[in-house]
């Protein structure tokens, strides 16, 4: 008998970054059953972590009730990473790689990566970069088609201070000689980034370098629409029907790109009565996931 588990784990990415993770799994009759059942590797959203409200907080227990284990990681993008310089989008796949390595070493053979919001874009970037053979599928929740375009649109919509273009100009100066090798970086605030006021709830905080690689016009790896054609494993998009942060057309366009590239194992499900967080409708979300995950059982 394998007993129910809630284990806090810590391990390092290739560059030494310390990743905290939470393993959530139920009872299994045999160890083999645990490892043969799909496990969902969950990657959080912006400023998120494995206890953040919504999907990270609610989904693992709901999946466990249906016999599916989860492994939730705090990547370098978690907490205040984007505000103090550590959260470089391109480097975040090292955290996913390390988590996959941990699961593979433990014996899991069917790893499904679920990325929520920003985590979805990270997951796609991982999946186009030689994913481990034990990674069998992707679940992309609230996936933006392009993080830079999404940021530009939002900042223009709310007439942010400073504007997207102004940030880009300043970033080029601050990050001399180039954003990869520079020793210079600064924190900055974007007022009216999330809404029409100067209130703290409407601001975004980055460093120029974290913005550059996640939101800037040259953040190539965060332009999911330009790289997703390289994903060859099955993909499930789940998207809140009432999501006002990422529009319906964004996952629809990503499905089309995947299909055009020859990946026909792609499903898009809109979750009724949910906004950016699909777990606002837990029953519909869990039903959709469990049905799709059943494809991976022997």
């Amino acid at each position: 008998m394998v007993s129910r588990q809630r284990r806090l784990l810590s391990f390092q990415a290739e560059d030494g970054f310390l990743i905290n993770a939470l393993l959530v799994s139920g009872e299994f009759t045999r160890e083999k059953d645990l490892y043969d059942t799909p496990i969902v590797l969950l990657v959080h959203g912006v400023l998120g972590h494995f206890l953040a409200r919504g999907t990270p907080r609610l989904l693992p227990n709901a999946l466990e009730e249906n016999g599916i284990s989860s492994f939730l990681i705090n990547s370098r993008m978690a907490f205040t990473g984007q505000m103090f310089g550590g959260a470089i989008f391109d480097e975040s796949i090292m955290d996913v790689e390390a988590a996959v390595d941990v699961l593979v070493k433990e014996g899991f053979r069917k790893i499904i990566i679920l990325g929520w919001s920003l985590g979805a874009n990270i997951s796609v970037y991982y999946a186009v970069n030689n994913p481990h053979p034990s990674v069998k599928g992707l679940i992309l929740e609230g996936c933006s088609s392009s993080l830079p375009r999404s940021n530009k649109r939002r900042l223009e919509k709310w007439n942010s201070v400073p504007s997207y273009d102004h940030i880009y100009q300043i970033a080029k100066k601050v990050l001399r000689p180039d954003p990869v090798t520079t020793q210079n970086d600064r924190v900055f605030i974007i007022y009216r980034a999330m809404g029409p006021t100067f209130d703290p709830s409407d601001v975004e905080l980055y460093t120029y370098r974290t913005w550059w690689f996640m939101r800037g016009p040259e953040a190539y790896n965060a332009k999911t629409n330009e790289i997703i054609s390289g994903v060859k494993i099955p993909v499930l998009f789940i998207h809140g029907a009432e999501d006002y942060i990422v529009g319906h057309e964004e996952p629809e366009s990503l499905v089309e790109i995947l299909n055009t590239a020859g990946n026909q194992n792609v499903q898009l499900s809109f979750i009724p009565d949910a906004r950016h967080d699909c777990m606002e409708n837990p029953a519909a979300t869990v039903d959709t996931l469990i049905e799709w995950l059943s494809n991976f059982k022997d």
Partner: protein, 310 residues
């Protein structure tokens, strides 16, 4: 690269459990370290330590993470918690020190329900302001019989004075006085919850460069109640005068954020106020006590043993 699924914090001396303690409409997250070391008659230790994080911290980092396993080996269980001031509470306006008090009340109640009789509050850096404030407000032993001691790690004598001195020394941009003038406008009576708050950056607040690690982030409101000249709740010495339970202060000699003198001065305030059980220790370490984790843990275990064992 190969990594291991072994939990680096797991030891044979404890069991770990993530807990979410219901608190009104929300929850208080914490990591509970249940020591499995029992005394000779197999009786469970009735003393538990609550660990409160520092600036931008949470229960997964710093002393909140490295101390509980060491204390567990000494027979003491711990609960490391996230308060409203954890992570980015200071950036978005809800990280107000006094609002953590009901949270800690709830955590204490939770530990009492688990059967603990001796509850010790331990704070690190900013967290010392929280635990000192709490202990001062809950000093009535008849009403709060289980609060038995306070531990401070890198405690500022006064958070507002400490921040002002540091910013002035480093030439922060904006200066302390410039932030104060702006904050006065924002904090005017009657403006609570009216959308008049703003997030602000202070460059050169923690070092002499504009780099992110030397920058601090607040809203005017969170700054006012933590660092402003009228932030009495964050002035450790004022709280210290009220506390009558045993106090242990530990400080790094090479701390560049909190001066070693501040611990001496805090201890003196407690003694002058009539507290007969005040201890202060210095270790050869900086603000984070790096490479001195075991030494720090040993000091605390010995201090606890003398007062609460047997």
């Amino acid at each position: 690269m190969k990594t291991s699924m072994k939990d680096v914090n797991s030891t044979k001396y404890m069991e770990q459990e993530l807990v979410s303690i219901p608190f009104g409409k929300s929850k208080i997250d914490g990591l509970y370290y249940n020591s499995t070391i029992h005394d000779e008659d197999n009786k469970k230790n009735e003393t538990v330590i609550i660990h409160v994080h520092g600036f931008l911290g949470n229960f997964l980092d710093g002393s909140q993470r490295f101390l509980p396993p060491i204390l567990a080996e000494g027979g003491y269980s711990s609960l490391a918690i996230n308060t409203r001031m954890a992570n980015f509470g200071l950036f978005f306006g809800y990280g107000i020190l006094n609002d953590t008090i009901p949270q800690i009340d709830r955590v204490v109640e939770y530990l009492e329900e688990l059967g603990y009789k001796n509850i010790i509050l331990s704070g690190y850096s900013l967290g010392t302001s929280i635990v000192l404030r709490y202990a001062a407000l809950r000093k009535d032993a008849k009403k709060f019989p289980h609060l038995k001691g306070v531990i401070t790690l890198a405690a500022p004598y006064s958070m507002p004075d400490s921040i002002r001195r540091r910013w002035n020394r480093l030439g922060s941009e904006p200066s302390y006085d410039e932030v104060l003038e702006e904050a006065k406008e924002i904090i005017k009576p009657g403006r609570e919850g009216t959308g008049h708050d703003r997030t602000i950056l202070i460059y050169k607040a923690r070092g002499d460069s504009y780099r992110p690690e030397h920058t601090e982030i607040y809203t005017y409101r969170t700054w006012w109640y933590l660092a402003g000249p009228e932030a009495h709740t964050a002035m450790g010495y004022k709280q210290m005068e009220e506390i009558k339970v045993p106090i242990l202060l530990i400080q790094g000699w090479y701390d560049e954020i909190v001066k070693p003198d501040e611990t001496h001065d805090l201890a003196q305030v407690a003694l002058d106020a009539g507290n007969k059980d005040v201890s202060a220790f210095y270790v050869n370490a900086g603000h984070k006590f790096e490479d001195k984790e075991e030494e720090l843990g040993d000091i605390i275990v010995r201090w606890l043993d003398r007062r609460f064992k047997g």
